[in-house]
Structure formats: C-alpha cells, structure tokens
C-alpha cells in the first residue's frame, strides 16, 4: 500500500549539496521519523519524496512504483506543513475537499470523506469557518484533516507541531499517534525535536549534513548509537563526552556517558568535581559538576535531591553504560 524506497538520493541547490546520497526503505504501515538539527536537509528530503523538488540523482519508489517523474498530486501522498498552509480564501470544508475535487471524484464520496475526517478530528463545528477564524491548534487539525481526506498511501508531516505551544503540542502528538494506529497508513514525520522522535516513531532516521547517520528503533538509538553524533543527539540532557586522555584511558578517543548513568558520590568515583549548578524539575534533578580534568559533567537523578553549590563531589559512572568512540567518532564495540 504505502511502502517507500529511496536509492542514492542526491540534491544540490547550485553548488551546495544538501542531500548527499540517501538510501532508505520504509515498510507499509510504518511510522518513520526523520530527525536531525535544523538545516540538515530534512525538509528538502521530504519535499523530494513529495515531488515538490526534483532530485539531482537517485530514485524514489512509492508502493513499488518509480515516481521520479510523477507530479505530486499523483504520487498517492499527502503532506502537512509546519505553517499549516491552509487556503485563506476557502472554508474549512472547501480546504479539505479541494484535493478530491481536483481529482474529479464524485460529490458523494467527497462529502463522505470530509465528514469522516472531520469527526475523527472533531472539526464538525468549524467546517464553515475560514482559516483566519481558527486558532493555531485548530488550523493544524484542519491541515491534518485535509491530508486524511485524500486517503493517501503515504503521509508526510513536516514539523507539524513546532508552531504550537507546549500543551497543545503534547495533545496533538497523541492525536497523531492515535491517527496512525487507526488509519494504519505509512507515515513519515520530520522533526528536530528528539522527544517527539522518541515518542512517536516505530523507527527513527537520524540525519546530519545530508547523510543518514543511523536508522533504528528509539531504543536501539538510545542504547547503541552508531557514532558520537547520534549519541549526543538522542537523549536529554545530552550525553557527556569526555576526552579519554583526561581519564587516563587509551582504549578510545572519547568516552561517552549519559547523565542518567552517573551517580554522585561523596567519597570516591571516576572524576572529582565541584557542584556548579542544580536544576530542580520536580520529577528529576539535574546536577552540574565542574570537574578538575573532564570539563562540565551533567548528572540526572530521579526524584528530589539537595546539593550545596561549590560542594566537592565525585561522579561515579555505571561501567556497563560507558560508550567509547574512536578517532572517526564511530562507536567502538
């Protein structure tokens, strides 16, 4: 129904290479996340899949069909944009039905499709309003509704939540997760927010500078990152990176340890430091240690803890959770 296969996708704007050879397979019904820092080419890749940009080279197959030369409207896709991109002069109903009208579908089918989508997203009361009369959250739901109405094989979301405020973001995130379970459609979801990526995806594709750094389930990425970039990108607060030489270790160039895998200890530990800052988040406490030779180290503790600023403490690493990175920043086994 909605599988996707990318082979050797290159894209350059003038002399700037934005995508540098992307290979990827997405299975039917999967929820795949593209995650990476801003400017790494996520949107460009998504627009290439949608057919809004031509590839410089490489092939795109949707549902086993080569679509390199197929216009966007015939690729069996629907896209939800960060800026909603609703047609300002049309009502919500017309916004949602325009795609099917253009495809010359029978009026009864269009009506059916719109009412299914609108009840799914509780948009019934808004159908006769214009986009200008809706709040941000409502607009994004309409944009999602417009995508559902098209009954696409493949949904493409480009940072759909980043213009919403925090509370609405969580709600809409749950709504999208529920939608995926209900429609059983293939979805590709772009975000720069690793929390969204971890919570929504079956599989996550980590992009960086136009290449795929790693593909895997959220827990695979968390537990066995392929390289230093992925290790640093997934997890919050970020993994601590320490020069191996500073710890008198010669089996790696850099040592990585996540904040949640370090325990503070008054008497002994791997590094000694001074408490420089404490953050109380309620459920968690983040402790920052300014160490003698390993730089600033963050420690994440569960629950409430009190520490004196400037107190001397040792950081004790969980040895089983220490990552080693080689000269090329790849993870050493």
């Amino acid at each position: 129904m909605g599988s996707l296969k990318l082979q050797g996708i290159h894209k350059s704007f003038g002399s700037v290479d934005v995508l540098k050879g992307i290979d990827l397979e997405v299975n039917d019904g999967e929820f795949v996340i593209f995650v990476g820092p801003s400017g790494c080419g996520k949107s460009t890749l998504l627009r290439t899949i949608a057919g809004l940009e031509d590839t410089t080279s490489g092939s795109i197959e949707i549902d086993g069909r080569l679509v390199n030369n197929t216009p966007p409207s015939e690729r069996g896709i629907a896209m939800v944009f960060q800026t909603y991109a609703l047609y300002p002069h049309l009502t919500v109903r017309d916004n949602m039905s325009l795609g099917l009208k253009q495809a010359k579908r029978p009026a009864a089918e269009i009506k059916d499709s719109v009412s299914t989508a609108s009840s799914m997203l509780s948009l019934d009361e808004l159908l006769d309003r214009r986009p200008a009369e809706l709040s941000g959250g409502q607009r994004q739901r309409v944009a999602i509704g417009r995508a559902i109405v098209r009954k696409p094989d493949l949904f493409l979301f480009d940072e759909p939540l980043s213009n919403l405020d925090a509370a609405l973001r969580v709600n809409t995130r749950l709504e999208i997760a529920a939608l995926h379970r209900r429609l059983e459609a293939t979805m590709i979801y772009v975000t720069h927010d690793q929390v969204e990526a971890m919570t929504l995806g079956d599989r996550i594709v980590v992009l960086h500078d136009g290449i795929v750094e790693q593909v895997g389930s959220p827990m695979e990425l968390y537990n066995s990152p392929a390289n230093k970039f992925v290790a640093g990108f997934i997890g919050s607060p970020q993994m601590n990176f320490i020069d191996a030489a500073a710890l008198d270790r010669s089996d790696a160039k850099t040592i990585g340890i996540r904040p949640e895998h370090i325990q503070p200890n008054k008497k002994s530990g791997d590094v000694k430091g001074r408490v420089s800052h404490v953050e109380h988040l309620g459920g968690d406490t983040n402790l920052y240690l300014e160490t003698e030779n390993a730089g600033l180290i963050s420690i994440r503790l569960f629950g409430e803890h009190q520490f004196e600023i400037d107190a001397t403490l040792f950081a004790k690493f969980d040895d089983k959770r220490v990552y080693r990175f080689g000269d090329d920043d790849k993870t050493l086994q």
Binding site: P72, S73, A85, Y87, L98, G99, P131
Partner: protein, 279 residues
C-alpha cells in the same frame, strides 16, 4: 511620561509636515477647479478668489462640452489607461511570479534586465518607437499607445511585485501542488489575492503617468479620432490666445475619472492591509 509627551510632540510635527505637503500638493488643483467656474475677466483679475455671484460662470464647461469631440477624447484616454493598466498588472504579475517562483538559468539576469527600464526613460527611444509604429502601420491607433504604455509600466510593476511574491509562503503553493492545482490556478487563486495591496500600489503608480501623458499621444496618435484628453485640451491653448476657461474646465473634468480609479484601488489597498493584519 516624558516619552509620551515626546511622541505627542513628534506626532504633531509629523502631522504638520504632512499637512503642509498636502496643501502644497493640492493647491494647484484647487486653483484650477475654482477658476474653471469663473469668467475670463475674473480669472485674470483675482485668480485666487473663490467664484461669487458676479464672477461665477459655466462658460468654460459649455465651451468644452460643445466642442463635440470632447467625449471621444475622454473615451480614448480611458480606454488607453484601463487597457494598459490591465496588461501591465497581468503581465507584470506573471513575470514576477516566474522570477520569484522558478529556478532557471539566468533568472537573476532576467530580473535585472526586466527592471532596467526603471532607470532608462522610455522617451529616449521615441524615434525608434515611431519608426516601429510607422512600419507596422499602428500610427494613429490607440493600440500604439497601449503597447508603449504597457512597456513603460512593466519594469516597475515586475520589480515591486516580484519582491512581494517572494514573501508568499512556499508551503501554501506546495499545498496547492499536492492537491493537484495547476500552476495557473496557484498563481491566480492563491498568490494574486495575497499580493493585492502590492497590485493596488502598482496600479496607482502606473495609471497616473499614463493618464497625464502628452508626449506619446502627440507623436504616435495625434489624429482627431485617437486624441486623448490631455492632447484634446491643447486645442484651447493657441499660440496667441488661450481660452483659459475651456482649458481649466477640461483639466477639471480630466481629474474625475482618474480620481474614481484611484478611489477603487486605494480601497483595495486598505482592504488588503487590514485582511493581512487579521490573519
């Protein structure tokens, strides 16, 4: 407090400057209009006084309206202005859309080339234009004027509109493409309504020089049946005697249509601005 008072003073100063400018700009128009309602003697005796019972006279308007061709001149001016304006807006917007939306070789060069006309006055090419019109048999037709004015208006219109079109959201156009809209529908239905304020600005800037132009009507279309209102009014200006009543009345009448057009566009302009603010 201080800053409130300061900005109060500043706003008085700004209004004073604007008011002065308005008075200076409107003064000649005002003089033309009041004098068009006076007898010839009264015009010369006290050109700045308002018409009173003694000096009031319709003579100027009567002369103008009796001069049978006056309505024809009017019609010619209106045809030339409206058709040129429509062509400038249509082609200008289309070229601006292509320049701002599509990446192709020489895009920047093309943009520069099309904007070059802003800096080079079209009148420099008058001789060549005349030769061209003679060769193509268009002398003494309104078509000649319309072609020239369209060429004259395009550079500025492309320049302004492409700047505005760059600001129209890419996502919106892309949403249209995914829904299967053609590039023409995206242009006419999605993009044009969003740049309406810019279109109104361009319309006003384009329309007034066309309506007021004397040069090209005199050179390209001086025949009786293709005279425009500015050229037509010249019949009242002789080498030795000038019928001031008639000239002033003709000029007063000539203000009307352009005023109507201006009001139409400026309403669009304001509507466009407020619509943008609410969105």
């Amino acid at each position: 407090m201080q800053s409130a008072r300061q900005s109060y003073g500043r706003s008085i100063a700004a209004h004073a400057i604007l008011a002065t400018y308005t008075v200076i700009a409107l003064f000649p128009v005002f003089v033309v209009i009041i004098n068009s309602f006076k007898t010839r003697k009264a015009i010369f005796r006290s050109p700045l006084s308002l018409p009173d019972a003694e000096s009031f006279s319709w003579i100027g308007y009567e002369t103008v309206l009796k001069q049978g061709d006056f309505f024809l001149y009017f019609q010619n001016s209106l045809t030339v202005t409206v058709v040129s304006l429509a062509l400038v807006l249509l082609f200008g917007a289309m070229a601006a859309f292509a320049l701002s939306e599509y990446r192709f070789k020489g895009n920047t060069m093309m943009g520069l080339y099309l904007a070059l006309g802003i800096m080079i006055p079209i009148r420099l090419g008058t001789v060549a234009i005349l030769q061209l019109m003679v060769a193509s048999g268009l002398v003494n037709t309104l078509t000649a004027l319309i072609l020239v004015y369209t060429a004259q208006g395009l550079p500025l219109s492309i320049f302004i509109l492409s700047e505005f079109m760059r600001q129209v959201s890419d996502d919106l156009k892309n949403a249209g493409r995914i829904d299967g809209l053609s590039e023409y529908r995206i242009f006419f239905r999605l993009v044009l309504p969003l740049v309406r304020p810019a279109m109104a600005t361009v319309a006003v800037f384009t329309m007034i020089p066309i309506w007021n132009d004397l040069w090209f009507p005199l050179i390209l279309a001086p025949a009786e049946e293709t005279k425009t209102i500015t050229l037509g009014s010249q019949v009242f200006i002789g080498q030795f005697v000038t019928n001031w009543n008639a000239v002033l009345s003709a000029l007063s009448l000539a203000i009307l249509p352009v005023l109507v057009l201006y009001l139409i566009f400026s309403r669009q302009l304001i509507r466009g601005i407020t619509a943008g603010a609410v969105k």
